[in-house]
Structures are given as C-alpha cells and as structure tokens.
C-alpha cells in the first residue's frame, strides 16, 4: 500500500465510524471498496489488517449498538467480506468472533438496521466475497446464513432478491466444486449437507403453489447452469428436471419467462444438453405456453447449434404462426404459398392472434424481431420460407398503412388493430430490410418496392418509420446477389430510382430534422455504393437532390449539416455535384465543394459538422479526389491550419489523422521494413515543412487533451520509422540532434509558439538517420 494511503487510513476509519460525519455519497464508499479490493488482491489481507489495526477496530465499532448509518454498516459488511475472502484472514477475523457478529444472529440480522435494503444487500455481498474457501463454507453452514439467504430470495428489493439467488449458486459451487470435485456423486442425496439443504429448498420451491417461489428456484437454476460448469450441475439437473417438467402440468404455467430462461440456459450448457428429457420438456413448453410466451424459447432453440430437427420445426412454427395468420387473413387469391403447411397450418385457427390490440401488436412485433435476428444466422431454419415471409411482411405493412383491402373478417379485425401502428411498422420495416438478403420472386419484389415507396411518400409516416423505410430501401437497392430462382434486382432499382429521388427531394425539405438527416444518410450510402453506375448518375443529376444537399450545409440543425457534409463529400467524389443551372446562380461564381467544406470547417459553431468535414477530407486525400490531387500540399496546409486551431479535440485528432494519411502518401504505408529511400525522405520532409505539419504535430504533443497528444506521438513515431533505417533504430536519440530539438521545443514552448521551431524543423528536415 502506498505510504501516503497507509498514513491516511486511521483518519479515514475515524471518519467512517463517526455518526456525526455522515458520508454524503454512496459513490465514494463504493470506490473505497474498489480500492480495498485491489489492495487485497495484490497482497495479503491478513498482513493488511495486522499492519493497520484501525481496520479491525472499524469493523468492531460497527458491531456496537449505536446510531450508525445503514450505508456505513453495509460498507463494513462488504469490507469484512473482502478481507475474509482469504482463508488465513478469515480465521484471524473468526478468532475475534467478528464474523459471527457481523453475519450471524447477533449482528444486523436482528437489528433495526436490517430494514434497510442497503444493509441486506451489504450482508449478501459480504458473504458472497468471503465464500471462497472451505472454512467459509463451514461458517455459512453453521451460522444459519443459508436459511437467511433463502428468506432473502423473496426480498421486496429486486437487487437483494437477485443477489440472494446468486449467493445460493455460489454456495452450491463452493460446496461441490473443489479438490474433491471428482469424488462428488451425481446423486444429490450424497452431497454435503449444505448443498443438500439448498437442493431440498429448490425442490420445495418448485413444488410450491406460489408462483414467486417457483420463480426464485427457476432463477437460481438458470444462474447455476449459466455460470457453473462443474460436474455437479449434471446431478442437479437430473434431480430437479422432473419437477421442472411438472410445472407444465399446471394451468396456467407458473413463471413462464423464468422457465424459458432456465430451459435455454440448460440447452446452452455443454454438460446438460445431451439429456433427451430436456428436448422433450422444451417441446412440451413450446406447446403449453401462449405464442407470446413461447416466442423467446422458440428463437433461443433455433439459435442453438445442435438440437433435434423436430424441435426446430416446432420452434420455427411458433415464430411463423402470427405471420402465417396475417398471410391467411389477407390472402386475396388462393395459390400463394402459405407459411405453415401441413399439420401446423391446419391447426391455425381464427383465434391464433390475441384478442386485445396491445397483445396482438406485441406478439407480431416480437415474432418479427426474432425472425429478423434469425435470418442472418448460419443455423437459421432451412429451407427459409423467403417468399411467404416477404408476402407476410408486405401484408403487415399494408395493414398498418391502410392500403390493404382485406376480404375476410379476420383481415378486417387485423386492419382495425394494426392501422397506424408505428410499433409494428418499425418492426416490419426492420425485418423487411433483413429479408433483402434473400430477394424473392419478381411479383413480390415489385410489391416490396411499392410498399417501401408508399411509406416514403406518405405524409403519415413518422420520422422513425421514415428512417427505417429509408434503411430498408437502401438494403434492397444494394442487394445484388440474386440467388437462382430469384429475380435480378437491377431493373426494379432503376424503375423506382426516379420516384425515389423525387421523394428524397421532398424529404430533404422536411421541417423535421430527423427526416432530412435520414434522407441525407440514405443519399450518402446510395452514392457510396452506386455512384459509379450510369443509371443512378443520370437520375441523380437530373434531380434537384445534389443542389438541395449542398444547401443543407447551411441547415440550422448541426446533425443535418454533418450529414450534408458527408453527402457532399460522396457526391463530389463521384463528380455528381454539378454546378447549378438556374440563371440566378449564373452571375455569382459557385464555390467548389472543397471551398464549401473548408468554410464549414472554419466557421461552423458545432463540432459535429467540422468532424464530418475532416472525415471527408481524409477520405478525399486517401482516394485521390481530383480537387485535392491537383495540389495536395496546398490542400493539406489549409486543412491543417484550420484543424490545428479548432476548439474540438476530435477535430484536432482528425487533423493528425489527415496528416498521417499525407505522410503515407509521401513515404508509403507503415510496415516492418518501412524506411523510405533517402531522396524521397528529404523531399517529403521539405513538403511536411511547407504544409507546417511539424508545427501542428509539436503543438499537439502538448495538447491539453490526451488523445491529441497520443495521436501526435503516433504520427511522430511513424515518421521516425520512415526516417530511420532499421539498423539505426536502437541508436537514435543519443545523437547531438536530440538536444537541439529539445532546446528548440523548450524555447518554442516558453513563448514563441507562433514561430516555427527552426532548429526542430531543420532537424526534422535533415535526411534520414540523423534525427528522431
């Protein structure tokens, strides 16, 4: 321990023990515990206590009946736990009867302080910390702590109840894992008494008619199977799985969420997933629970690498059922493939969907979300019913925007429930976007683009829905890998492009900044990926979109300005930012995009657009954008000048990033044999001096903001690697030049900041091997 800290420790303990000096903030006690934990992890707790008796005195002090705050008592309990985690220290504290005093009946358990949740929480956390060794296990068993933990599982505080469950798992693990683990029987009745007691308690809970007790047991088991990997977990599952399966006989099934979590936790455990009974229970659970309750289990099963095929089919059926119902309820003509064929399809009744609107919306949203997560996974169900899924999502979106004309009664009911429902719209658009990976038959693809356009055009679409509609459209437009049997997207993309740009033009003028921003993000991504395609270029140039984008550089909302910067950057890179054709603009010379972005960099009051400009500039420099390539030195000099004085440290960091890109262009990328040839290096260094890169880099070394200084170091180290032949790298720095550079920098630092540190510059511009 730091001597200064050791000196302060007694005073600290005095303050903590003094009820007249209340500790105002829990955070400082938390941090103090963090510190004690770090100290004890690094050394012996016993020595710590022996060297600093004030700590033991503090722990004894809290045992005295007094008006001590609950947070100090809680702190002391946790602190004692941290110390007692080491067995010799545990025994030291035991000798003083301190631990029974703190954690046993005579302690806070029987006192009024126990009413404070923080004290109960401290008690649990203290025990959790000390439950590390056999002595601790004996203590837990003998002190009656386990019974208290049982009762705390039903604590009114979620935090305490949850921590109690975790502590039970810890105790089980401690009792059954250890040197004797190999000798532990798989039969729970042969286990140590403490473990047997916990298992009996769990059995009682699982048999209980009270749902909260069942839930407590399920939570403990979920934690045990999720976090412990000892052999004993097998024994525990063998012992308790019949009781878990019996829960399904109750109507309604108690604690369905917790049951699902447990089954998934067991299924994911390599120790337990080989039990065939597990899959049987899972299958029964899928059929006993309501579709909403069963959804997470179904999704979890489908994400497993290994599980019986029949169960996977059943699970997939659960997720597909709501969509299958929608599809059937909205079917205009027979012949369309259904989502659930065969037995599952026949079982689908009119009352598949819940009667209340909110329950129906919830079910649809969760089914869509689960399917969205499944689609990209390699273990997703195969064959993947892409076409009916597409049809179902399009149908849902139509029901939501009122463009569906359902002919059936069920369709009408759905129409009434989903009309205008933003929540379903968002979920459906997300899933539709993901489905772009699989494409689909021609007719459906047409419908997809049609519905997306409807949403983009509709004045009723909320900004969040529009954002998702833009994202889904982008995914469909960029999807090009057409698998056999699916149509080629390109003709559709071309077909909708005109309409899309017209919508985009409108959306870029939206009064909502969120909409303008989503439009610009869409445009940037489209241009990035399709900027070279003739059809896209033609359509874009014929629209007013580029000009509008340029105007949005002056948007009142900084986020929009930043997105406009990114869009202008992309458009310019592809030569799509044509000069305005209207006569009023003809008289005044149009600024180049470079000049416009420089203006943003130097004048914008917000950091977000300025950072966007720096990203664009770096990209331009790396990609050899024409205006930059014309005179890169001038470009870099101008940008560095602007960036170096920026108040936003991220702009300065990006300035250094741009400088690094410039260096790479001059000297080649960094690598193991990176030294540049002497001639090229000399020229490069002169160029660096001309663009005043050294001023910027040296100033950045002393920047108040750490990342700027770090980036500057990266840059200078890069330069050193380029300037120094590998054989000299160990010797550099000992030469006389270092002193002169240091002296120059000192003078510069002392007040000549505006001036280029001549000596440093000279030193820097000297040929390789002499500097750095």
């Amino acid at each position: 321990m730091d001597p200064e800290c050791a000196r302060l420790l007694p005073a600290l303990c005095d303050v903590l023990a003094d009820p007249r000096q209340p500790v105002a903030d829990d955070a400082c006690l938390e941090k103090l515990l963090d510190w004690f934990k770090a100290v004890t992890e690094a050394g012996s707790s016993l020595l710590l206590l022996q060297d600093h008796p004030c700590l033991v005195e503090l722990l004894f002090h809290v045992l005295k009946p007094q008006d001590l705050s609950s947070r100090i008592l809680s702190f002391a309990l946790r602190l004692a736990g941290i110390f007692a985690a080491q067995e010799n220290c545990f025994q030291y504290l035991q000798q003083g009867e301190l631990l029974p005093g703190l954690f046993g009946e005579p302690g806070p358990l029987g006192a009024a302080a126990w009413a404070a949740p923080s004290v109960r929480s401290g008690w649990i956390q203290g025990l959790h910390s000390l439950a590390q060794h056999p002595s601790a296990l004996r203590f837990l068993a003998d002190s009656g702590a386990v019974d208290t933990i049982f009762s705390l599982q039903g604590d009114p505080s979620l935090f305490v109840a949850s921590a109690a469950g975790q502590l039970l798992v810890r105790v089980l693990d401690l009792a059954l894992c250890g040197p004797a683990e190999g000798r532990i029987s798989l039969q729970a009745w042969d286990w140590p008494a403490c473990a047997r007691k916990i298992v009996c308690h769990l059995e009682d809970c699982l048999r209980s008619k009270a749902t909260p007790r069942v839930m407590q047991a399920l939570h403990v088991l979920t934690t045990a199977f999720g976090h412990c990997h000892g052999l004993w977990t097998q024994g525990l599952w063998v012992q308790l799985s019949p009781l878990v399966a019996r829960l399904l006989e109750k109507d309604p099934v108690p604690a369905p969420h917790a049951l699902v979590d447990l089954l998934l936790s067991v299924a994911r455990s390599s120790m337990l997933s080989s039990d065939p009974g597990l899959w049987e229970t899972a299958a029964q659970t899928l059929s006993h629970l309501s579709p909403t309750q069963a959804g997470p289990l179904a999704a979890g099963i489908l994400k497993l690498q290994d599980c019986p095929q029949a169960l996977r089919i059943q699970a997939f059926g659960v997720l597909l059922q709501p969509l299958a119902f929608v599809l059937e309820a909205t079917a205009q003509a027979p012949g369309m493939p259904g989502l659930l064929e065969g037995a599952a399809g026949d079982l689908m009744a009119m009352d598949t969907l819940p009667p209340s609107k909110s329950a129906c919306v919830g079910l649809l949203c969760s089914a869509l979300a689960h399917l969205e997560l499944l689609q990209p996974l390699p273990q997703r169900p195969s064959p993947w019913p892409q076409a009916p899924l597409l049809a179902a999502v399009v149908a849902i979106l139509r029901l939501c925007n009122g463009s569906a004309a359902p002919s059936s009664e069920a369709g009408g009911r759905l129409c009434a429930m989903l009309g205008g429902c933003v929540r379903v719209q968002r979920a459906a658009l997300d899933f539709l976007g993901v489905l772009s990976q699989g494409l689909g038959p021609q007719e459906l693809v047409t419908q997809v683009f049609a519905i997306l356009l409807e949403y983009l055009v509709s004045p009723d679409s909320s900004p969040t829905v529009l954002k998702k509609a833009f994202q889904a459209t982008l995914r469909w437009l960029l999807s090009s890998a057409a698998p056999p049997g699916c149509c080629d997207l390109e003709p559709y993309a071309q077909l909708v492009l005109g309409e899309l740009l017209s919508v985009l033009r409108k959306r870029l003028c939206s009064p909502c900044w969120e909409v303008r921003d989503s439009g610009l993000e869409f445009l940037t991504q489209m241009t990035r990926h399709r900027g070279g395609q003739a059809g896209f270029r033609q359509a874009l140039l014929a629209s007013e979109v580029p000009e509008l984008t340029r105007q949005l550089l002056q948007d009142p909302e900084s986020y929009v300005r930043a997105s406009a910067v990114a869009a202008v950057g992309q458009l310019s890179s592809w030569g799509l930012l044509a000069a305005p054709s209207s006569p009023e603009h003809a008289a005044t010379p149009q600024k180049t995009p470079l000049e416009e972005l420089l203006l943003v960099l130097t004048t914008d009051s917000e950091g977000f657009p300025r950072r966007a400009v720096m990203r664009v500039f770096t990209e331009w420099l790396r990609d050899g954008y024409a205006d930059v390539a014309e005179d890169p030195e001038r470009f870099v000099a101008r940008v560095l000048q602007a960036a170096s004085g920026d108040l936003d440290w991220e702009v300065r960091v990006q300035g250094l990033e741009l400088a690094l890109a410039f260096l790479e262009q001059l000297l080649g990328p960094c690598g193991p044999s990176a030294a540049a040839p002497p001639g090229a290096l000399a020229q490069a260094l002169q160029a660096l001096c001309r663009v005043q890169l050294f001023e910027f880099a040296f100033r950045s070394l002393f920047d108040c903001d750490r990342p700027v200084a770090q980036k500057s170091c990266d840059l200078l180290l890069f330069l050193r690697a380029k300037a120094t032949p590998p054989s000299n790298s160990q010797e550099v720095g000992d030469g006389p030049d270092v002193t002169s550079v240091e002296a120059a920098l000192r003078r510069w630092q002392a007040g000549e900041q505006g001036q280029l540190p001549q000596q440093a510059r000279q030193a820097a511009s000297r040929p390789c091997g002499e500097t750095f």
Binding site: A27, S157, A709, Q710, G733
Partner: protein, 662 residues
Amino acid sequence: MPEIRVTPLGAGQDVGRSCILVSIAGKNVMLDCGMHMGFSDDRRFPDFSYITRSGRLTDFLDCVIISHFHLDHCGALPYFSEMVGYDGPIYMTQPTQAICPILLEDYRKIAVDKKGEANFFTSQMIKDCMKKVVAVHLHQTVQVDDELEIKAYYAGHVLGAAMFQIKVGSESVVYTVSGNLGHRKGCLVEEREEAPPHHHILCQGDYNMTPDRHLGAAWIDKCRPSLLITESTYATTIRDSKRCRERDFLKKVHETVERGGKVLIPVFALGRAQELCILLETFWERMDLKAPIYFSTGLTEKANHYYKLFIPWTNQKIRKTFVQRNMFEFKHIKAFDRAFADSPGPMVVFATPGMLHAGQSLQIFRKWAGNEKNMVIMPGYCVQGTVGHKILSGQRKLEMEGRQVVSPHLSLPALWIPLGWVEALGTTTCADGPHTAMLQLEVKMQVEYMSFSAHADAKGIMQLVGQAEPENVLLVHGEAKKMEFLKQKIEQEFRVNCYMPANGETVTLPTSPSIPVGISLGLLKREMAQGLLPDAKKPRLLHGTLIMKDSNFRLVSSEQALKELGLAEHQLRFTCRVHLHDTRKEQEMAMRVYNHLKSVLKDHCVQHLPDGSVTVESILVQAAAHSEDPGTKVLLVSWTYQDEELGSYLTSLLKKGLPQAS
C-alpha cells in the same frame, strides 16, 4: 384488479442516476434514464438487466420519458437505446431534445478524452438516439397507444424541464422530477444544486413556485393523479433568501473587480449561466462599471440560440420584452478569447465547464489561482474528484495532472509547469506516449461557493402535492433520512399514503378503478324528487338496473330496463321461516308481532290485515302453528327483492324473539 407498480432502478433513496420504472395497468414506462458521473464502469448506468429479464426491451417498455436535460436524468439514454437495444419511442420536450445531445456529446468527449474510456457511446449513437425522440408540447396530450397517454406540464427548473402526467384508463401517475424541485447531482458537465459537504445551507423555504430571472414557475392543474412521484432532494433543506444570495454575489464580484482582481465563474453553458449573466448585466448597467465581462467562446451564441428558439419556455417578463430587446443579448458581456486570460486588469469571466474538471474554466483557473487578488465563485455543486470539489472542500494545494512528451529520445521535463505550480511531486514514465506528471498548484485566489439552484424545499413539494391532490405520493431522488421527514409531513398534512422505495424495491398500489356509468334521466328525476340535492363530496346510494352493453354502463330504472330489453317482469319473493317458542294462539302471536314491529320500525308503514297477517311495505308476516310441536309457532316472512334490505333486517329482528308482554 389494475395496479400501479413503481420500481426505482436509480434515485430510490439516493441522489444518483434517475431511472424509475412505472407499470400502470399493464403499461410499462421508464421515467428518466440517467447516469452517475461518479463511476466510469458499469455502475455509471442503471442496471437494465432487471428489465431485459422480462423479455426484449422494446417489447416490454411502452415508452421512455425524459423530464429534463440534466445528465443524471438522460445520460444513459444513448447507451440504453443504441447499446442495450431499446428501439421504442422516447418522449421529451423540444428544448430538452435540442439541448440533451449537446450535454451528451460534451460528456462523451470528456469520458473518452480525460478518462480514456473505450466502449462508450459514440456521436453517431447520440444522434441515432435523438432521432427516436418524439417532442412533446406543453399541455399537449400525446397518445402513445390506444390506452396510454402522456401530458407535459411546465416545471421551470431548467429550460425545457417538464412534469409528466401518465394516464392509462382512469389511473394516472404524475412525475415531477424537476418542477424546480430537481437538482442535478452527479453531473460532471453541468452544475449541481447541492451544497458541498462542509457547508450548511441557510434556511428559508423559498420553493421556486415563483418565477426566477429567466424561467417561469412550475405549474400543474388539479389533476388528482393516483400517484405523484416527486423528487425530494431538498426535503429538509431550507435556504437563505434568493435576494440575499444575489446581493452577496454582486458584492463579492464588485469588491474583487474594484481591487483589480479577476473573477472566474465556472458555469455550464445553459441554465444558471443565463441567470447570473442577467444579474451582472443589470448590475453593471446600474453601477456604470467598466471592467469587462466575458463568456466562453461560442457558448454565448449557442445559449442565445436556444433561448431565442424556446422563448415561450422563459418567464413572462422575458417573453414580453423580447420584441423590443432580447434579454440574452448582453451589452456588457462579450465573447471570451483565450488570450484575454493573460490581459492585465480586472475582469469577470464565465467559463465552462462548471466543475473545473477540464476545458477553458480549468485553464483560466490554472492561470489565476496563484494570485490572492483573484476570486473563483462556484455557483453549483461539484462532483467528487473534480478540481471544483477539491477547492470547495478547502484544499489549497492541489495535485494536478501535467503532461510532458516522453519518448526514449525526446524528453522535455518541466515544460508544462504554468504559473502557480510550485513543485513537482513525482513523474511517471511510459515507453512511447505522453505521460503525466503529478504537479502541485497552490491556490491563493479566493474561493467562494454560492448556491443558485432552481430550488424546491419541503414547502415547495408540499405546495405541489396540495396543488395536484394525488391519492398517493412516492418520493425519489433524495436521501433516506430527509425523505422520512417529508414522508411524515405529507402523510400528516394530506392524509395520503407516502412511499419511499429504495433502489430495486417495488411499491405496488392497488387502485380502485372508477367506472363511468351513465344514469338515466328518469332515475335521476326520481332521486331528485326525494328532495336531496347531489353533493360531490358525499357518495349516495342509488338503486337501479345496470345495463352493460358494448362496453357502456348505464343505470336505469327497472321499468326502463325491462322496456329496453323487452323482458317481462317476474315477481320474486324471498321467504323465510322463523321458529319462536310460544304457546299462545296464532292471532295473538300475530298481534304481538304487529305491536313489536310498529314500535321498532317507526318510519315504515306497518299494517295488521284482517286475515291476521302483518305487512311492512312489501313484507308479509304470517303466524302459524308448528305441525309437530304445539308449543312452537312458525312466523312465515316473505318479501320482494326490492325490499331485500328491510326483509333481511326484519327477519333478524324476529329471530331475536318478541318482547315479553307487559
């Protein structure tokens, strides 16, 4: 039975990050999503795993509501929406939506820069999160879905702060986290409203139900919510008068400037800064002072921009005079340039951030700290670990981080010891990066703390409770002991239940739903005919037939019900036998019954009919001999369902026996 459940994940008996889960009749709402600046690990955010345990976040939560832009109320939002994965709607007022990202961005930069934290939310995440926000206008009822609606009320406190009413059916909850009650504990990039630990705050209960210099007073209508959730930070705090504090502030600034010193006022760009600027501007004007006043570069414009944009959110005076003169365009206060810090002569500088933990305010502090003529005035609370907190705790020698360039070949010791640093304590070294040197700064300048919080104390909270007339009150964002005091006060004065759950504790309130029932005119007229005028405060029993049709409830007379439903009336009579041991004849027995009932039921019409039976309203009593026991008589009591109450009473009366004949 619908119920309201409230579980604070933060701000339950503490003043850390605010995050309260409310469940009303199956609808789940998260109130605020704050962060704790005291931590730089997982503990800085609320533990959302308690929500994810119930399934997908977006499926479980119907919406998130943010009361105001302070980070302990909104700081975890980008983490929650972009990293934990909540994709549902977030509601806040327009000014909060505008200012929130600035603060989040500010904090992100500090977290990444100063603390070097990775895995923090990015700028893009802040933007994406803000795009999920739905702006709410004051007093606008927003329909979240068919069942859940919310409504915002003006809270004063800070620009855009709002109280929210959340309603599901007839149940409602009002969340008044600020309402000028709020303080912002734990914010690093903003002010906090609490006195430093060593200060005792002077007292006077001046809860800000009155407007301050730039914001109006909190207001809520008599909405009689099922539950009022209120912040209780100042539950027991009584403060000195605002005018005294202002006078004191001006005096201190004036004295320092007069003796040629410089005054540094570290502030957050929005909020209290404007309040103090208006104060100084007016004073400078009145006193014709010449010393320059500066405000951090760029921030004046930003603040001005927002105040202009949201002028309806400011107080009446500012709104009224705005057309002639914008109160936020100051004559004496100019934009600050970093070179001004070295200028000789007196000056006053408002600089950000407010806790002297980074940026311009810290740079100026470093320059001015060594001169005893200078003064720093801290107008708000400072988080532990900041320079602001240290100097407020009385520290006069500060260990501070300096930086020097270190590479094996380039070493520049002590380059960065600015004015006022007296000795180097130690130096750490690292292989190839900048490293820090711990240096000591002696603070000779005067340090003053003056709390200018948008304050609410016990009186203010009580006032608000009185105004809203809730059925229950729940206290959050305060210390347990203070809450206990306020809880008792509320329970005594308003006779309502008051709760103060700790973090993680769930309070469940059973509610008795009020079901609106339409009453037919005929039935009402009949009631009126009895001559009793309706009184809203006195519930009254009304007999009729309840018709439940198409989710509508109507109470009509039985005649009307029969007519409407096309039903024929059936007479239903209840009959009961009462056995009494009596040897007298039946007629004599009937007479005794008649006399007894007549003496007991004075308000009713009791008749003795010629056939020997006795009637009371529709109730018929007949005496008969027992077939097997001549010493026992059987009283046959029969009544219609309309007289059910009287029939039951009469039967119980007769069962007790008849009084002995005199």
